[in-house]
């Protein structure tokens, strides 16, 4: 008996050494599907998230240290580029696509408007090396970071030693981006039973379910597939979307379906930012869709909305804005981290 008690005490002492308390850096409501990002290969950790945040806001990632990720993905625009149809990168160069908003990335399998990137970890390589975005060689970034005492300290804090590798930098960037979760819009509060829609929003929601939900599926407001939405080709850009990657002619004009969350913050819209307002977007589906035969099957039977319906739908879409996400201090420029570790 004594032996057993002794064993029990020993076991208890042993277990007290472990920290069972799990701090959650990534939470989502019950009505959300399971994320597709594999956390087993990149365990979330407070320091790695912070390091990722510092990197995200640091222009060291560009060739002449002038452009950071946040230059085109600003927190106050739901991490998209305000006022710019096409984003401008290094030396005021202008690219061919609109910078997409960044949130709920752990639920996404393909990245970029044409799905060129198959994993969140690799996504930063694209803008970093693009001659019109950050125009930097990734290997050179690892060299630049390795020369910085500040980053050595942060990599030590995050990974247990101060060796800086491309893998670690990309993992940290992924960690920060994964924590950009937006799940506190009015829609979410209604879903949780804490609030209710007004009449217009309710009507708008019903229209949404009938007309938009097959592609912009709730609760993420996108099924994150690719679709042809009938936009005429812009002859100055000649962007044919996914076919550039797959080289399959059937994929011509396929673009990734964006989420409708935080719409009010992420104007302008579409892959080339051609529409400034939600009215223009809905009018495209209302009046211009029939002009183009090459559209996805979900849109072939789209019946235009009347003016009342359009207004109701927009009222509903505005319930998808999440101001607590926009003003979340953990997502903004990491001033406090930079001051702490000078």
């Amino acid at each position: 008996m004594k032996k057993k008690i002794l064993q029990l005490i020993l076991v208890l002492i042993l277990f007290s050494g472990f920290n069972f308390q799990k701090i959650k850096y990534f939470t989502y409501p019950k009505y959300f599907p399971k994320p597709v990002y594999n956390f087993k290969n990149n365990f979330l950790d407070s320091n790695k998230i912070k390091l990722g945040r510092i990197l995200f806001y640091d222009p060291i990632l560009s060739h002449n240290n002038s452009i950071s990720c946040a230059s085109c993905h600003s927190p106050y625009n739901a991490f998209s580029h305000s006022d710019h149809a096409l984003s401008h990168g290094i030396n005021d160069e202008i690219g061919t696509r609109n910078a997409p908003a960044l949130f709920n990335l752990a639920w996404q399998k393909d990245f970029m408007w044409d799905g060129a990137v198959n994993h969140l970890d690799f996504q930063p390589l694209s803008p970093i090396s693009h001659p019109k975005e950050m125009n930097e060689n990734f290997r050179n970034i690892v060299l630049k970071l390795s020369k910085s005492k500040f980053y050595k300290k942060w990599f030590f804090k995050s990974f247990g030693d101060s060796i800086i590798t491309g893998e670690r930098a990309l993992k940290a960037l992924s960690q920060f981006q994964i924590t950009l979760v937006s799940t506190n819009s009015k829609y979410d509060r209604v879903k949780k039973g804490n609030e209710s829609f007004n009449l217009k929003e309710k009507k708008g929601y019903e229209i949404f379910l009938k007309k938009c939900n097959s592609c912009h599926r709730e609760p993420l407001f996108s099924n994150y597939q690719f679709s042809k939405n009938g936009l005429p080709i812009d002859k100055t850009l000649n962007d044919y979307g996914r076919v550039l990657i797959t080289k399959n002619p059937e994929d011509s004009l396929l673009f990734k379906i964006p989420s409708l969350r935080n719409l009010s913050y992420s104007s302008p819209y579409m892959h080339d930012g051609r529409f400034k307002t939600l009215h223009e977007v809905i009018n495209h589906y209302n009046f211009d869709l029939y002009k183009n035969e090459n559209i996805s099957p979900e849109l072939t039977s789209f019946v235009p909305l009347n003016n009342h319906e359009t207004v109701d739908l927009i009222s509903f879409l505005k319930t998808l804005n999440d101001s607590s996400f926009i003003y979340n201090s953990y997502n903004k420029f990491p001033m406090e981290l930079l001051l702490k570790m000078k």
Partner: protein, 225 residues
């Protein structure tokens, strides 16, 4: 920094002595028409002069077999073989004395590894062997000059990659070997380049039919001496 490196070596010594006492290694010997490949050396063949300026490729999923029975599987996801960096053209296997008579490996990186997210060491994207404009490892990066090549400065560059059907450019290779502490596998670049009309084909840098075709020539350029 130095301290951490010394510490690492210490732990490797203590816990993983096999690294030091491994029995076998596989060495990739690069050749050009049976001669040793020398970077930036002019190789004259018929009406063409070919110079190789850089050669890098991935080898993965190495296993040793004894009469079709697997006796050893390498657990590293990928090895970068770089001709500029001689240290990496030999791969040390973590195994004791075993019987085997054939070696299997994959040229390039398989599709499952491609979906794992970012990986380290030889597979770190900072090695310059990962495409930035789209996802995918560059399985073979071969660059050089050919006098008949119509490109600027007669420069040819083949960045062969692609992991999805129908553009998969990784290949399994099985070679019979003698049991030896160093297994020498030869890769004759002439065998590969001889199949390509360099006056017409000199720039391939994306997954396509053409890269699959070149990857099959690549596969057929390996042999045991």
């Amino acid at each position: 920094m130095k301290r951490t490196i010394i510490k690492r070596f210490f732990w490797i010594l203590v816990f993983n002595p096999l690294h030091l006492f491994s029995q076998y290694q596989i060495c990739f010997n690069h050749k050009f028409q049976n001669d040793e490949l020398i970077i930036n050396k002019k190789n004259i063949i018929r009406d063409d002069t070919i110079t190789i300026s850089s050669l890098n490729y991935y080898v993965s999923m190495i296993s040793l077999h004894n009469n079709s029975k697997i006796v050893y599987v390498d657990n590293q996801l990928g090895h970068l073989i770089s001709h500029e960096n001689h240290q990496s053209s030999c791969i040390v296997l973590d195994c004791k004395k075993i019987k085997f008579n054939s070696i299997h490996f994959k040229l390039g990186i398989d599709s499952i590894t491609h979906t794992k997210g970012v990986l380290g060491n030889d597979l770190d994207p900072s090695q310059g062997m990962y495409w930035t404009w789209r996802s995918g490892y560059i399985n073979l990066k071969l660059e050089g000059y050919s006098s008949i090549c119509a490109a600027k400065n007669h420069f040819f560059q083949f960045h062969i990659g692609g992991y999805q059907h129908p553009n998969n450019t990784s290949h399994n290779i099985d070679l019979q070997t003698k049991k030896d502490s160093t297994m020498n596998i030869s890769f004759d670049l002439f065998k590969l380049l001889n199949k390509i009309d360099l006056s017409q084909t000199f720039q391939i840098m994306s997954p396509s039919k053409k890269s699959v075709e070149i990857s099959s020539y690549w596969k057929n350029s390996f042999y045991v001496e």
